[in-house]
């Protein structure tokens, strides 16, 4: 089988032995709400604490304990909903999802089933073949379970309830995704929006963001969906992509072999890079959802939604528009600069005092190269936004040349030195005094009279040679624009 991929045009189809197939993907992302305390209790949500040190009587489901909704988590999910351009449901209901497991102390998870807090919305992806809108089906609030630890003891399982009761937003996409790359773009965009909003830290290593991936395939041209399989709890974008690739091929093999797909829940084995059946539809839990009688329906005031909306920060899509329109950036530059909240903050800090286009160039070019090389995020950049801004301003005001700037940039990386200091200390200030430059030009001409006559007889390509010589004599500091002008005059 061959995957066909074309950069300019969407073309992720899988060629089987007999047919060409399209892959249909939908995601259920579980995003941990950024909140100090849990969804229904006041226990801390801090990551990495000792086992069972952040557990209240409510989290461990002691007799007679009752849940009380954390209003902050409600506001966080409204905020996220608004960021997804989604409908906020002023009336929503918490339901109990009943099943037994050792790390689920209540014997049920409090979730939202028929009436979620957030309804339909959308996310726009920037793909190489243009922008693509992915529908959001819903967002609902629910409790996380605890953690069962099976490998501490050969006989027993240990349970850590620190996560038990932590607030999650389950964000369900429509089956609109068509390739592993789109899935990657979707998760990154969703994560970015939530980071802009400060509603989820998106930290996949700590489990703050994980997804159930629904995959089905159909013959290219077919309008009907095939039977889907759900791959549970995948916790990195790379694994999601690998799981989809494996699962799509598995399904195609079966279908081309005239076999059927069983609707089932599967697990992705990251070591073997394969999905495995977890339970079939027949074995699926009957969760016996019903409205939680301990909680009243969640009523939200329209006023609250309006207030949150009014105070919403500028989100990546709007920021991108603004950068293109007002900063005159290219779509490519703008897309990169808004992709992460921290990058956009850095850029906006830099352009407070210097040319925007130049700033975009330096950040997406030289700075990113350095960060990539050193494997650093922008928040750990060795060059501060202020210093980069100063340096760029020195270029546009003619204090240093672009070429010298590269040298200064190199030196700024150690100890985040102020570029003014470097320029001064190393005497790198650009020479823009026309008299001094005229002297150098005169010197170069006198030394190369043969080249001058060649130039004058039509070998105009030699102009570059003269420029180079002048720069060399000036130690690279001569203002190239001025040198050009003077040379043109002298060589007339």
């Amino acid at each position: 089988m061959v995957e066909i991929m074309d950069q300019k045009k969407f073309n992720y189809y899988i060629q089987g032995e007999k047919n060409k197939w399209e892959v249909i993907i939908g995601l259920e992302v579980h995003a941990q709400v950024l909140s100090k305390s849990k969804l229904f209790s006041s226990s801390s949500t801090k990551f990495g604490a000792d086992p069972n040190t952040q557990v209240s009587l409510v989290d461990s489901a002691f007799p007679g304990m009752l849940p009380v909704i954390n209003q902050y988590c409600v506001e966080q999910s409204i905020k996220t909903g608004l960021g997804l351009k989604a409908k906020i449901n002023l009336h929503s209901v918490f339901d109990r999802k009943n099943y037994f497991y050792a790390d689920l102390p209540q014997g049920y998870q409090i979730s939202q089933y028929k009436n979620p807090i957030v309804g339909e919305g959308k996310i726009i992806l920037d793909m190489p073949y243009g922008s693509k809108t992915v529908g959001i089906e819903r967002l609902h609030l629910e409790q996380d379970a605890g953690k069962s630890i099976h490998d501490l003891d050969p006989e027993n399982t240990y349970v850590d309830l620190n996560r038990s009761g932590v607030a999650l937003m389950e964000i369900v996409s429509k089956p609109d995704l068509r390739s592993p790359d789109e899935v990657s773009a979707y998760v990154k965009k969703l994560r970015s929006i939530m980071r802009y909003l400060n509603t989820c830290d998106g930290n996949m290593q700590e489990g703050s963001l994980r997804a159930d991936v629904n995959v089905s395939v159909r013959k290219v041209g077919s309008k009907e969906f095939g039977t889907r399989c759900e791959i549970k709890n995948v916790n990195s974008i790379k694994f999601m992509q690998m799981a989809i690739q494996y699962e799509a091929k598995r399904q195609i093999d079966l279908l081309e072999d005239n076999k059927t797909i069983d609707q089932e829940t599967r697990l992705f084995d990251t070591k073997k890079n394969e999905t495995r059946s977890m339970r079939s539809k027949e074995d699926a839990h009957d969760y016996r959802y019903f409205p939680d009688p301990d909680l009243l329906p969640l009523k939200i005031e329209k006023k609250l939604v309006d207030t949150i909306k009014k105070n919403l920060p500028e989100l990546p899509d709007e920021k991108k528009e603004r950068f293109i329109k007002e900063h005159n950036l290219s779509l490519y530059e703008a897309t990169i600069l808004v992709s992460e909240k921290e990058i956009s903050h850095y850029y906006e800090e830099v352009v407070k005092n210097c040319d925007k286009k130049l700033a975009a160039n330096w950040i997406t070019g030289d700075l990113f190269a350095v960060l990539n090389k050193k494997n650093l995020s922008i928040s750990k950049s060795p060059i501060s936004a202020t210093n980069l801004s100063s340096m760029i301003k020195m270029i546009s005001t003619g204090k240093i040349s672009g070429k010298i700037a590269k040298e200064v940039f190199e030196k700024m990386q150690s100890n985040n030195v102020d570029p003014h200091e470097i320029v001064e200390k190393e005497g790198l200030l650009q020479q823009s005094d026309p008299k001094a430059l005229e002297k150098i030009v005169q010197e170069v001409i006198s030394k190369n009279l043969d080249k001058v006559s060649e130039y004058k007889s039509g070998k105009i390509k030699l102009f570059g040679f003269f420029v180079g010589q002048v720069m060399k004599v000036s130690g690279g500091k001569a203002n190239p624009q001025l040198v050009n002008n003077i040379l043109k005059e002298k060589l007339k």
Binding site: F62, P63, G64
Partner: protein, 484 residues
Amino acid sequence: MIDLTKISLCDLVKGIKKKDFTSEEVTKSFIDNEKKSKKLNSFITTNFDEAIIKSQTFDKKKNYSGLLAGVPLAVKDLFCTKNIKTTAGSKILNNFFPTYESTVTANLWSEGAFLLGKLNCDEFAMGSSNETSFFGNVINPYGDKLVPGGSSGGSAAALASNLTPATIGTDTGGSIRQPASFTGTVGLKPTYGRCSRWGIVAFASSLDQAGPMTQNVEDCALLLQAISSYDPKDSTSVNVKVDNYSENLTDNIKGLKIGIPKEYRVENMPDEIDILWKKGVEYLKDAGAIIKDITLPHTMYALPAYYIVAPAEASSNLARYDGVKYGHRAKGKNLIEMYENTRSEGFGDEVKRRILIGTYVLSSGYYDAYYIKAQKVRQLIKKDFDESFNEIDAVLTPSTPSSAFKVGDKKDDPISMYLNDVFTVPVNLAGLPAISVPAGLDKKNLPLGLQLIGKPFQEQTILNLSLAIQKRAGFKKSIKEWWK
């Protein structure tokens, strides 16, 4: 010397304040009485040593500010009490010691009362005869073969036999009012949301409500006042001001309109119940009330709806008793087997029956036919009451379709057992306040109660009506202390 255990709660509080007797004397009298009354099996856990210390401390400090200053009280073993075993009448919680105190009992203690012991009840409050308790059935002081009713059977028996001056029960479908009726005592189920459910072992969350059980209506007003509160820890608790029920208590009920619902005249109801009901009408007329015939057309669907909603919620509420965190744990080769063994050993038959029913009615494919339909019925029942309350102030009905029945009589016939709740269940479904007040005796000389159902948060109205009945019925406890 007077028998301090035979004095009403109000008089005990007054007597202690007036220094007619000490808190210690009162406490020791009840303890002595309990020690002579083990046959009734009304206590699961006694807290006597601590109670004596508390009474002595009280007598030294003499802080009379609380409504219940210096009074020892035993409560139903469904309330979590800090560091004191709380079983809910079940083997599965046989070794459970909460580290916290329920809001309702905390309210009692902050009014100056202290804990005398934990009273027997049906397992997880599921039962109408106190025969489902893991700690054995409770005997009605009215006869050695009689049940005290349930699920607050231990509370009713202890109260009627003077082992506690008053007590607190819980009522999900009649669990306060029916045993009160069976033992000639007063029992009130407050409006849903009046008392906090925090720290009460849950049976059916949308129906459960704690309430006072007392010797007379005056005591009931006092105790209701003490336990009522808004509690932010219970999301279903309602922030409505607590009235001064005691101070406002009056039998002047002139002009109040009382509805008599024809649907409560059920088939095969003994004549004496009907006679009692008519007497109740006369008492209220005599006190100046206006009697109106009303119709509550969906009453007949209340019991089946209740026996869907309550088990559904229970099946989920009881899922936490899995042997993992606390309570009884049986051995098993793996997790599933441990669950199965723990719950098989830990729960009794009635609890298992209700978990099965509840699990069934919530399963996919049955949910709409049972649970959703029952919820619709519930709305209709509430609407029946709402509409009636446009014209009347309260509803008068019998509390139960019979007096106390014999131990074992209905144990193996759940339907006939469930029918006992036919008059009490609609009230829980509608979330209304209701009280059972003793109003007479049947041919067997067993007590019978009348039920008054009020508008939401109008507990005062039904207390006042009950006082009018109490004064006219002249009900006298006729217990021969045969067990001593």
